[in-house]
Amino acid sequence: MSLERASATRPRLFGGRRLGELVPIIVLAPSLIASFIYVFVFSIWTLYIAMSNSSLLPSYGFVGLSNFESLWANRRWNIAYTNLFFFSGFYIVGSMLVGLLLAILIDQKVRGESVWRTIFLYPLAVSFIVTGTVWSWLYNPVDGIQALVRSFGWTDFSFALASDRNYAIWAIIITGIWQSSGFAMALFLAGLRSVDGDIIRAAQIDGASTFRTYRKVILPSIAPIFLAVAVVQIQFAIKTFDLVVALTRGGPGVSTTFPAIYVYDLMFQRGQIGEGAAAAIMMLAALAVVLVPYSLFLVWRRNKEVRNG
């Protein structure tokens, strides 16, 4: 029950409210205004720039959708969003699989649980810049993994992911999975721990094997967590920028261009602010396509829970 109701019977002095009741609103106002500007004004502002003839500097001559047209006609943008789809698919599935496996392993009453967890989660604490830089060294054919394996005697071993335009995106996928599967693990583990012990025991009494118990009983009951992990990781994927900068800088050539890289490049390297803003709007749109249905789903589920008690 909220305090609003509790105080409804008190005398009202100031514009229908007691002066004291205005304090919260006054304290909240700066944050509200800042957030409002950040979310709404900035979006509309950027949308407006995207519809303007801005090039090296922002200008406000209205040109309608022509920036969007030239964006979608651009081969590099084409590569950028194709990469995004490709990357997202493998990155999300990969880190969920690894994360789920690790969570299930840790869930088998292993010794030193917190040590394992600490190891799998630490990459999340460091920046994508740090991770990307270190992995770019590992992918370096002269000094990294390739050199190591060759030094063992396998002299024609080839592992030059990051510098091969056909495979460079895999370098980003692998590093991305390495960085964030710990996150999936943490969420899955929390989910596994919350499953009702009775239904598991019931399955065991029925003679289900461990594998079957997981597949038929435990995993279905944590389905919402799969969705939550996927949604968070799609967001990561759409915003992917630092990792690519540190790993490949979008190269070789333009083979690992991503939408976020494209926005940065057009705005600050090529002086095509209008089209860069159009690309930023497309990123926002992509996020909305994922997040709006998801939040509607969450609201629907919450309402259903309330109705069912």
Binding site: M1, S2, E4, A6, E21, V23, P24, I25, L28, S31, L32, A34, S35, V39, S43, T46, I49, V98, L105, Q108, K109, V110, W116, R117, T118, F120, L121, Y122, V126, S127, I129, V130, T133, L138, N140, D143, G144, I145, A147, L148, S151, W178, G182, L187, I200, Q204, I218, A228, V232, K239, F241, A246, R249, A260, M267, I281, L284, L287, L291, L298
Partner: protein
């Protein structure tokens, strides 16, 4: 539920079961070890190389056990290595990052606590809608804000300044900190607040005497989340600052990008570690809270 493997096996003949259990255990620990190595080796590689001599790295490759031990690379990386024509090492950028991260973390956390308190305990008509609007900030891609921020920072004279970045991170951070605190304060019983009000306590008194003393767990989560997030941020750093004003992430990219230094793995490793140590420290000291922030940030 973790004891499925254990409890059901015990029903069968002891010998066969324990043998099978031994195998299962071996596979579990084997897999965990393999994954742990994959996670730890990149970190070990950097730590080793920061102490190996550069000629040795050139000879034996990056991934090798150290045969020498020397801290010279740390001194160079911290103090006098050249990045883009400035030969002051990473220390300058490290300070920049501290100067940006600490105020931005403190301010955004305090605002988040106040906002969360109001949005959970002083709800007014429309406050839930306003909360939802603030939440949208969590999802905003930074790219949308680049041009508007460039304009605003220019207007208020904070272009190419660490304080400009503080402003950006506070505004962007409010939505996270408000979300964390609000969701935590909701679980504090309203009766507690009501009783205090009947005793004559006002808005501030309730905040300082009741809410704040109950807040340490969520404040730690929020501070850790903000600190690591802001310290690790790159996009705003590279767009809105240049040269000696850059935070450490941008400086690291500049360092590793400059062609002349491409082979100085010893110094670059030390530089990378200097950039990674503060968030890693926070992670190892506050691990439990770090994970809590992670899971709360994800499932709203």
């Amino acid at each position: 539920m973790a004891d499925i493997a254990l409890s059901r096996v015990e029903d069968h003949e002891a010998v066969r079961a324990s043998r099978r259990r031994g195998w299962t255990r071996a596979v579990i620990y084997g897999l965990l070890t393999v994954f742990a190595l994959i996670y730890v080796i990149p970190l070990l590689v950097v730590v080793f190389n920061a102490f190996r001599a550069q000629p040795e790295i050139a000879r034996n490759g990056l991934i090798a056990f150290p045969q020498s031990f020397q801290p010279d690379a740390w001194v160079a990386a911290w103090d006098n290595y050249c990045i883009g024509g400035t030969c002051q090492g990473m220390k300058r950028y490290f300070y920049n990052s501290l100067l940006m991260t600490i105020p931005a973390t403190i301010i955004s956390t305090l605002l988040g606590a106040m906002n969360g308190y109001i949005l959970s305990k002083w709800r007014f008509k429309g406050s839930d809608v306003l909360f939802t609007c603030m939440l949208l900030g969590v999802f905003m891609p930074g790219q949308i804000a680049l041009m508007p921020w460039a304009f605003i920072l220019g207007k208020v004279g904070l272009s190419n300044s660490v304080y400009g970045l503080v402003l950006i991170h506070v505004v962007q951070g409010i939505s996270f900190t408000t979300l964390f605190c609000r969701n935590y304060y909701v679980s504090i019983p309203d009766d507690l607040i009501k009783a205090a009000r009947i005793d004559g306590a006002g808005f501030w008194r309730i905040f300082f005497k009741i809410i704040l003393p109950l807040s340490p767990p969520i404040l730690i989560v929020t501070v850790i989340w903000q600190f690591t997030g802001i310290w690790n941020e790159y996009l705003f750093g590279v767009v809105f600052t240049s040269g000696t004003q850059q935070p450490i992430t941008a400086a690291l990219v500049a360092l590793t990008a400059s062609g002349t230094t491409a082979s100085a793995y010893d110094v670059m490793s030390a530089a990378v570690l200097i950039g990674a140590i503060p968030p890693l420290l926070v992670y190892f000291l506050g691990g439990k809270y770090f994970v809590r922030g992670l899971t709360q940030g994800a499932i709203k």
